[in-house]
Symmetry: C2
Amino acid sequence: MTRNPILLHDFQCQPAAYHSDQGAILEWIAAAHAQAEITLQKPATDEARETITRRLRKLVLRFGCSTDRIAYRNSALEDFTHTDWDRMRIFQLNQYPSGKPCGERSRFYSEISGAAFEQFYAGETEPPAVLIHVTCTGYVSPSGAQRLVANRDWGRSTEVIHAYHMGCYASMPAIRMAAGFVERGKARVDIVHTELCTLHMDPSQHMPEQLVVQTLFADGLIRYTVSRTEDGASLPKGLELIATREEIVPGTGEAMTWMVSDFGMQMTLSRKVPDYIRAGLGPFLDSLAASAELKAGQLFDTAIFAIHPGGPRIIDEIGEHLGLRPDQIQASNTVLGNYGNMSSATLPHVWKAILEDEAVPSGTLIVSLAFGPGLTIAGAILRKSG
Amino acid sequence: MTRNPILLHDFQCQPAAYHSDQGAILEWIAAAHAQAEITLQKPATDEARETITRRLRKLVLRFGCSTDRIAYRNSALEDFTHTDWDRMRIFQLNQYPSGKPCGERSRFYSEISGAAFEQFYAGETEPPAVLIHVTCTGYVSPSGAQRLVANRDWGRSTEVIHAYHMGCYASMPAIRMAAGFVERGKARVDIVHTELCTLHMDPSQHMPEQLVVQTLFADGLIRYTVSRTEDGASLPKGLELIATREEIVPGTGEAMTWMVSDFGMQMTLSRKVPDYIRAGLGPFLDSLAASAELKAGQLFDTAIFAIHPGGPRIIDEIGEHLGLRPDQIQASNTVLGNYGNMSSATLPHVWKAILEDEAVPSGTLIVSLAFGPGLTIAGAILRKSG
């Protein structure tokens, strides 16, 4: 029995409230690190303060993601638009060198995530059968998804699922879950990502890996729908789900970590991650292609690669490793350049860009790849339709 | 096309390391609240200290869950076995009146959850196709599930899913997810709950609702498998999945909350929750029964009710409201009495008890009910087999 394809469609994104160019953000982060250190060290002289400020600016500009990789990033926090530490919501660094502790970050997350759900569904009258909320940056119940359903009185039509704490690759388990719910008869599954990564910066942490993370991550809000296409209809505009796969690379448990800590959530990232990914990628792609009855080699010439920008260079490194042309990874690089790494919201932004790009013809295969703690490699093969 | 039933089976539980009787725990909690208040107030005289101690003991014994509801609770924390505040892992209340902040709780959670996964799979040679980790009490990546898969080199066979932050009812979305993965061709989906609720107590919070919560919750670790039964085989011992349903009761958003706060996770619980549940339960059960092609009335006479003990009286209140006999809610009351409220791990303990109870014949329907933030009512109809 052949069944109609399952489609990802109707992508909508919201930019977070504050749009900044990366140059300005790098200067802000340099000033924040200096202020955190000054609050900790309490230097007695102006000269000592200036030495700290100069040293930390140099470090941030040396290790931070440069403006040729990322041009802009968005944040829901007004904090990043000024350096008046007294009126910061989170980064009141003259009192709290790490920013405020977890509770205030949770409250802010709850406000912003709740407002994002209301805005995504402002014009919507039909409730989805399932609403999957994806995040790894804020854990508050009732969530924005639950409050939307309660406010709209959709509680007897819509089941809410939290797909939390799966890091940057979480769009993949979310679409696997969604496809499962569709198989079990749910007509329409909506997926909403609300990632507020910038909320979890700790400016008292000056290690190079922390500077990479802090200058790479940004906030992202995106919604899309997963459903089975109707009988007899020609395929509408969307991304047909062909295959999914997820692997954990052995012996890489400590390569990337993400946990609730004292001052928001904390990430660690080993410099070896790109090596681990390159080593695991070959067998991973062979198996992913095989589950779509393809050979990986067929994909390297013709598919578009939607690659999660886990680090500033990973898209280009994978492109080079697999021998891809620049046009095959262009959408990934454009999203990185315009938005930074929005954790799990990033890949859906790349999918949206590919779907809207008229230069990518219907029928094009899209190989999606993302990475996260585990070390996990997650992937999917999609096909553009409509 | 009729398909073979999906079965929940092979339940295994681990008691958390420290088993305490509720009377001893109530005295510990009284001492902890007194110490927290003494650390905050710094009373100058022995008399003032004794007044605080007496007042808080009275409050804890008045509002806490009494020993006639809960006889025993387990915790992974040694802290609860003594009152030498200096050598506490988390509840060093002579320095931290709320216990230590989030980071240390995450590290402890990670150790215990990791060890629990290792123990659950100590004798296992066959990897599951999907491993769903359920918790609302610890958010650390790599999780115990991811580390197990990495350590065993199961990374190319097993996909890990985190079903986090869905509160006490999370076994329901977990089995819905599992059933979806089975529909998509996964042969065996394992679900593991590691809930360390006792880690998130805050002894500086003396409000009656907090005293109820702190004297109700306990730690719970349980594992089970979801798979489709094989062709031609008679049904093995297990619980056949007949129907699932989840609803959010409108206008109840603030009735129950659960979020990451400064000192662990914090819960609020309105006294109106039992009223809201009673009001929502009738239509919920009608719809749940209808999706199994039954009438709710048929269930009230014959089914066993596996009811999550969200509060100390909710099982009996629902039993009374629906006109159930004591034997229909006995397994739920027994689990509450022997283990307390282990959040999402509770209902699976009730299922295990029903499955092992030879007085419950094969073919018996089991109506499962659980509650959580939203306010969410989640339910399932299962049928005992084998």
